[in-house]
């Protein structure tokens, strides 16, 4: 904190970031009678203002001018494939699209709302039990989360009820109840809402997957299939499959967002204050560095402020949380040469490829119809649902048709079948044919953590506040490429069961480095992971810093390795899990929750 920072009145809890994690934590802390200030560096946002129909139904502004996303001109990351390279700035949005503003990426996400596969929570233990320690490839930092599915189940259930999630259960309280995912663990209750209808492409995929011998189910979607009132008393409207989820605020109030599902209640709570356009620079620590005293931030006028607080909760996007820990000196930075230190360790991504199937020209696939979380998946090759022994790789991948609504600029970029030129008359013909008659199938795979894949501070480039950018060192590894290629072959099996005119299977290629120019997914994870060993995790199993006990760090940064599922459901459950332990234990007895 510099000398001219304005010192503000102390509060009980300061929260960095106004997305899902921050909103959940703020709700829980105000319920516990604590005063909360939430600092969001982006602008204030609401569905009424940012999702108003029809102005919001604008693909150029939503998906190509990134109206609701992070302003990279102020703050970005640098990226390299290995530690011998010079990392270079991520100057334009492409491979991943972090959000910014009140609601965070939760305002403009798609809505796929998963729990987690129980085996993924203890993947290291499970792999060793099933295949032996030698099965783990050299250099892979495979770890357990330090929490079990049974412990998290009540919080998954709570999050689904807050989000108004649509889906079909397979097993509730040990009893088979429906046609849901046969690989999913037992639930304490049904989904709050029935599954969304299958769009046509999902319907085709469901039939073909069954014919291929797999076990399709409806994707769990935080897009309300019916009118719904959540436990906080806020109302959602039924999804009308408009096709504008990812990149947009939902004008129907059907896609769950912090802005619709939590903030309307929080905003009128007397113990809650939201400060937008407030950019946090640093968590302040006391003299011995064992306790946080608050945070320093730049307010909307550019004035530096110190907000004192008893508890600091970092709830920004995954890599911003890691960067704030590094900038604040919370936890030991990771050293890849020695595989020691924890902040920056186990940075992971998600391993996604998309294949395309063309149907008969008389069949219209109507790809403009869609719901962000809707679709049909099968989990036969996800997590430990299949025998990896003879295959020789760790990790897996759900496979799905998740038609979120393909819009025309996006379709123009996709273009035609392989070999079609990217412009001219042949491009036109190929694009029209593909848009009208094709469907897309994703292998949405896990990405394992590796010793030489990590986050640290860049030595060269800075943000507009003069602080170093975060540096990503990331590349695809053979284990993950082999996994992808195996699963994409199974997509080939499904495509054979369709009445396909043409099939284009897309596999990850060996030796082809991570390409920052192509959109892949915004599901980044790790870097400040949870666990039971302070030598390999920055956070204990309650997402509390091992080193500074009044700092909690909530987000996908806590994942020790990637999973095949979208992260938001897990992040929400972890937020409720951490909040529960803060409420029942920490508030009365501040100190380390695990020892």
């Amino acid at each position: 904190m510099s000398g001219d920072a304005r010192r503000l009145s102390p509060v009980d809890v300061v929260i960095v970031g106004g997305g899902w994690a921050g909103s959940i934590m703020a709700k829980e802390m105000t319920e516990a009678g604590r005063s909360v200030v939430m600092l969001e560096r982006g602008p204030d946002r609401s569905t009424a203002a940012d999702g108003a129909y029809p102005a919001s139904i604008d693909e150029l502004e939503g998906n190509f001018r990134y109206r609701l996303f992070q302003d990279l001109s102020k703050n970005t990351v640098t990226i390299r494939n290995n530690s011998q390279q010079t990392a270079l700035p991520y100057r334009r949005m492409a491979a991943f699209l972090p959000g910014e503003g009140v609601g965070g990426a939760g305002l403009h996400w798609s809505g796929v709302h998963f729990r987690i596969a129980p085996d993924d929570l203890r993947l290291r233990s499970r792999v060793i039990e099933k295949y032996g320690r030698a099965f783990i490839p050299e250099g892979m930092n495979l770890q357990d989360y330090g929490v079990t599915y049974e412990e998290l189940e009540p919080f998954f259930d709570k999050a689904e009820k807050v989000f108004g999630t649509s889906g079909e259960a397979y097993r509730v309280n040990g009893q088979v109840v429906g046609r849901g995912n046969v690989f999913a663990p037992s639930r304490s209750d049904h989904f709050p809402l029935p599954a969304l209808k299958d769009v046509y492409t999902a319907h085709i995929f469901r039939k073909a997957a069954e014919e291929a011998g797999f076990h399709p189910y409806s994707l769990p979607a935080a897009n309300a299939s019916q009118q719904y009132v959540n436990p906080y008393g806020v109302q959602m409207g039924p999804c009308n499959f408009c096709g504008y989820c990812s990149g947009y605020a939902c004008y129907m109030y059907s896609k769950a967002s912090p802005n619709v599902n939590i903030l309307p209640v929080l905003r009128r709570h007397p113990l809650f204050e939201l400060r937008s356009s407030s950019h946090v620079l640093k968590v302040e620590l006391d003299a011995d560095g064992r306790r946080a005293t608050g945070v320093t931030y730049l307010d909307a006028d550019g004035q530096e402020c110190m907000q004192p607080a008893e508890i600091v909760i970092l709830a920004a996007f995954q890599f911003h949380n890691v960067r704030l820990m590094l900038l604040s000196g919370i936890g030991r930075p990771y050293d890849p040469a020695r595989n020691e230190g924890v902040v920056g360790r186990n940075f992971v991504y998600q391993n996604v490829t998309t294949s395309t199937v063309w149907l008969d020209r008389g069949v219209e696939t109507n790809q403009f119809i869609g719901a962000g979380g809707g679709g049909v998946a099968f989990d036969d090759f996800n997590s430990e649902n299949f025998d990896h022994g003879p295959l020789g790789f760790v990790g897996g991948s759900p496979v799905w048709v998740n038609q979120a609504g393909v819009k025309p600029i996006g379709a123009a970029h996709v273009g035609g079948p392989p070999g079609t030129p990217r412009w001219g008359s042949a491009w036109k013909a190929g694009t029209i044919d593909t848009y009208r008659h094709s469907l897309r199938i994703d292998a949405h795979g896990a990405n394992m953590a590796y010793r030489d894949v990590y986050l640290d501070l860049d030595p060269t480039w800075k943000d507009t506040c003069g602080q170093p950018l975060l540096r990503m060192t990331f590349d695809w590894k053979d284990n993950d490429i082999r996994m992808n290629r195996y699963v994409v072959d199974r997509i080939g099996d499904v495509a054979k069961a369709m009445d396909a005119r043409q099939v284009h299977l897309v596999r990850r290629e060996f030796g082809s480095p991570f390409d920052t120019r192509q959109y892949q997914t915004t599901h980044l994870g790790g870097g400040a992971v949870m666990g039971e060993d302070p030598g390999t995790s920055a956070l204990n199993r309650y997402l509390q810093s091992w080193d500074v006990h009044n700092v909690f760090v909530i987000g996908a940064n806590a994942f020790p390795q990637g999973t095949g599922y979208n992260p938001t459901g897990m992040v929400a459950a972890l937020a409720y899990w951490a909040a529960h332990h803060i409420r029942v234990t920490y508030l009365a007895h501040p100190g380390p929750l695990a020892g």
């Binding site: 029809p54 102005a55 139904i57 604008d58 693909e59 150029l60 190509f64 001018r65 302003d71 990279l72 001109s73 990226i79 390299r80 390279q85 010079t86 990392a87 270079l88 700035p89 991520y90 100057r91 334009r92 492409a94 209808k197 299958d198 046509y200 319907h203 039924p238 009308n240 499959f241 408009c242 096709g243 504008y244 004008y251 069949v363 219209e364 696939t365 109507n366 403009f368 119809i369 025309p408 600029i409 379709a411 123009a412 970029h413 990217r422 412009w423 001219g424 008359s425 036109k428 013909a429 694009t431 029209i432 848009y435 009208r436 060269t460 480039w461 507009t464 991570f514 920052t516 120019r517």
Partner: protein, 230 residues
């Protein structure tokens, strides 16, 4: 609109589409003619030789043909000129802090230039190349020669002073696609011609009653944000 009223429409829609299809085959030049009847657009960013280049390049990237209107009938050059007036044209949202150094292609864009800079430098480079090689600026060359030059730029085999030709080409192609298929509120996609060609209903954004009409052609035409109908 409810399902009841929709029932009457598919056959009428197909009839109209049939007519449009027949007309399109015989009257490709008409797309250009209708563009000519509109008052000419006076570009604010591009100067006259740059504007000539942009019009010629757009006409090659999305030509008018049997599949539907080309980039000129869709007013794509106007869209691009209008985009240059927006924060995007000035590089808003791009991290343009130095130092600048080039790395492997897969690490992405590493130039200090905004979209406006890329057009200025890229068009200068294309025209200089055309003049050196063929004695005339790009716009004055035969379409086949223009196509060859665009392909060479796409493959990065032209050498410009400050901007790799592939970087310029990608900027141009991306903006051409945007101009053909974005809402007309941004100046392109005139008459919703881009959307009609693809079969995209535009800002209707409500498919509650068509989500389980499996495989069936969606019967309603495109609508724009401002309420214009195709």
């Amino acid at each position: 609109m409810g399902i009841g009223s929709l029932r009457l429409m598919p056959s009428r829609r197909r009839f109209m589409q049939g007519l449009a299809g027949v007309a399109a085959c015989g009257t490709v030049p008409a797309f250009g003619a209708s563009a000519a009847t509109r008052p000419p657009y006076a570009p604010r960013f591009f100067n006259a030789p740059q504007w000539d280049f942009l019009i010629a390049a757009c006409a090659r990237l999305i030509p008018a043909d049997i599949h539907g209107p080309g980039a000129l009938a869709l007013d794509v050059p106007r869209f691009i000129d209008m985009q240059m007036q927006t924060p995007y044209g000035h590089g808003a949202g791009w991290y343009l802090a130095g130092p600048f150094m080039q790395g492997a292609d897969n690490l992405g864009y590493q130039l200090p230039y905004t979209p406006r800079d890329l057009y200025q430098r890229g068009i200068t480079g294309m025209n200089a190349h055309a003049t050196t090689r063929h004695g005339r600026p790009f716009a004055a060359l035969a379409p086949a020669v223009q196509d060859d030059l665009l392909r060479a730029a796409e493959q990065g085999s032209l050498v410009f002073d400050e901007v790799p030709s592939a970087v310029f080409f990608e900027q141009l192609l991306a903006n051409v696609m945007e101009g053909a298929f974005s809402d007309p509120i941004h100046g392109g996609n005139t008459g919703l011609g881009g959307w009609t060609m693809l079969g995209f209903p535009g800002a209707r954004a409500d498919f509650m009653d068509w989500v389980d009409r499996y495989g069936a052609h969606y019967p309603l035409g495109s609508v724009s944000i401002s309420g214009e109908r195709a």
